[in-house]
Symmetry: C2
Subunit: 341 residues, 2 copies
Amino acid sequence: MTLREVAQQAGVSIATASRVMNTPDMVREPTRSRVLEAAKALKYRPNRHAQSLVGGVSRVIGVIVSNVANPFFADILQALERRATEHDYELVLESTDYRPARLEAALNRMLGRRLAGIAVAASEADAQVIERLAAAERPAAILDDSSASDDSVTRIAMRYDDAMRRAVEYLHSLGHRKMGFVSHHGSLDPLRERESGFETTVRSFPGVEYSVAAGSDSPDGGRQALRSMLDSGFKPTAVLAVNDFMAVGALRELRKAGLEVPRDVSLIGFDNIELSEYLTPALTTVNVPRRRIGEIMFDALINDPKTNEGIGRRIQLEPELVLRDSTAVVRQSAKKRAGAR
Amino acid sequence: MTLREVAQQAGVSIATASRVMNTPDMVREPTRSRVLEAAKALKYRPNRHAQSLVGGVSRVIGVIVSNVANPFFADILQALERRATEHDYELVLESTDYRPARLEAALNRMLGRRLAGIAVAASEADAQVIERLAAAERPAAILDDSSASDDSVTRIAMRYDDAMRRAVEYLHSLGHRKMGFVSHHGSLDPLRERESGFETTVRSFPGVEYSVAAGSDSPDGGRQALRSMLDSGFKPTAVLAVNDFMAVGALRELRKAGLEVPRDVSLIGFDNIELSEYLTPALTTVNVPRRRIGEIMFDALINDPKTNEGIGRRIQLEPELVLRDSTAVVRQSAKKRAGAR
DNA sequence: TTGAAAGCGCTACCAC
DNA sequence: GTGGTAGCGCTTTCAA
């Protein structure tokens, strides 16, 4: 089981055995194969902890996401995982359930390991988190951070507000003047950006009414949020959701309320998760390149000369509106002054 | 950064400092707080690798799943993650993409760490994997294993064939005599069990025609599988999918082909992922208790006296058919001999 | 080319 | 109660 046993079995010193495992060229042939055989016979498996202890770092990268069950994060995770496996890295995963306290704790645990890097795709990350990440002098990549400092951390930023503005403008051009927003509980910065992008734009249009309702990050949360909006007496002709995962539930609730999409109400999601295309009607949404995000993060963490584009960079990605079947011109009956074609 | 520095700063021996961290009661008050202060001042963070190296095992459990992007696995992962965080454990994740070779590699990597336990929820796990897991004399939990040996591994078994039989019988009772099955590429044992459950049952009904088509594990894979089935000239009145994730795509393709569900074709999925309820029509499916599976696995791995029910057990879970809106009595026009009500 | 030995940071055992 | 110290399994000088 240990290198020493292998060395003994092969009749060499442990140093030589170690060399065979790491720098085979430094060991002459008869010796080398003896060690290799012994290793195989004993089913030798290097103790990663010992390796990391002496080596300083390990081939492990830490990943923190908000909610693995949300396909948005699952996709990022998948991309990270693929890259990691390709490069013989392992992943340590933590999910925060959007709780800042859990992010904090997760970060602490990760800082206690000799990780090769840390990737954070958690919507609740705030300036303090970045600061600690930077202070850890360890490669890090973070999604959706707007802060300015540039150190060892790579920032992936997305113009959510812009995208949201375009979405609202699109609905406005369709004649919608009464819009609802389905949001998140406990949403911090980046989600806020989506919400505030919505609010800001909506306010810039005179004569547009709006309402915001929140639920948990799940289809069911979306359902409940929409329900409470309807119950409050607000009857939107268009609804935007903070993400597709919740939009799914909103769609359901709309239908349950006897409202047909897009005939009676238009619906726009966010993220463009694979499933959004498979809903009925196919969901109009905003594409956020999740695979790409995962890949960029991984590449930023490990300094692979082949793919690396430098760490500590700020990468701007542009989410774009993808038009499908859940949006339409506002109905005549629902809106007096706008004409339906 | 290291315990030694903390000890120095506090003017105590490293042994004492260690005690303060692990068994605070063994250190008297003035000393203890001095150490604690020093630790905080220096932002001390124990090196997990060193701890694990000396301690033998770490508070880390390894998780192997087939595909994180499939909500089925994501949900199991989420449950595991929650339990892990509660108990101050970390998760090392590997995803295999259903590739046996990757399972093998993942297992190797995990065996090289001093993991507290290993949870495998990978459909492609075979007898050999179990054997290696058992040989590793480390707590392990595995989903969907049918092998017999009982050691340090906990087995969660589900009567997929039974469930599938009930699903087919249900469709048969609805008058369906032409059934299609949407399956997986590279599916091994457990998925096979679903498929063979289908085939066995279908064959037991005289006069029932069937066809099987496979795709990758994604909505798109489901779409393509269904397309190829239709293209082959087989026109089912009912379709069963190996899982909901693929059923989503099948549903889409059915509609695209001008077939309405359930009017023209009935559809049954498998897993009961949260989204299945939100489709239109809501998907009839077979419930597999994913949260529960994740929890059982975790509890089996760590021997928490509060929750543990013993390791090395074989746990049988019963998946059950959940009837929703995607299934209906066969149409008169589609089926001559069966009468629609 | 190979071996001896010094740690990596920590826990636990044995003295004091 | 506290300090000294022997490793955990491995990599990596430094000599031979």
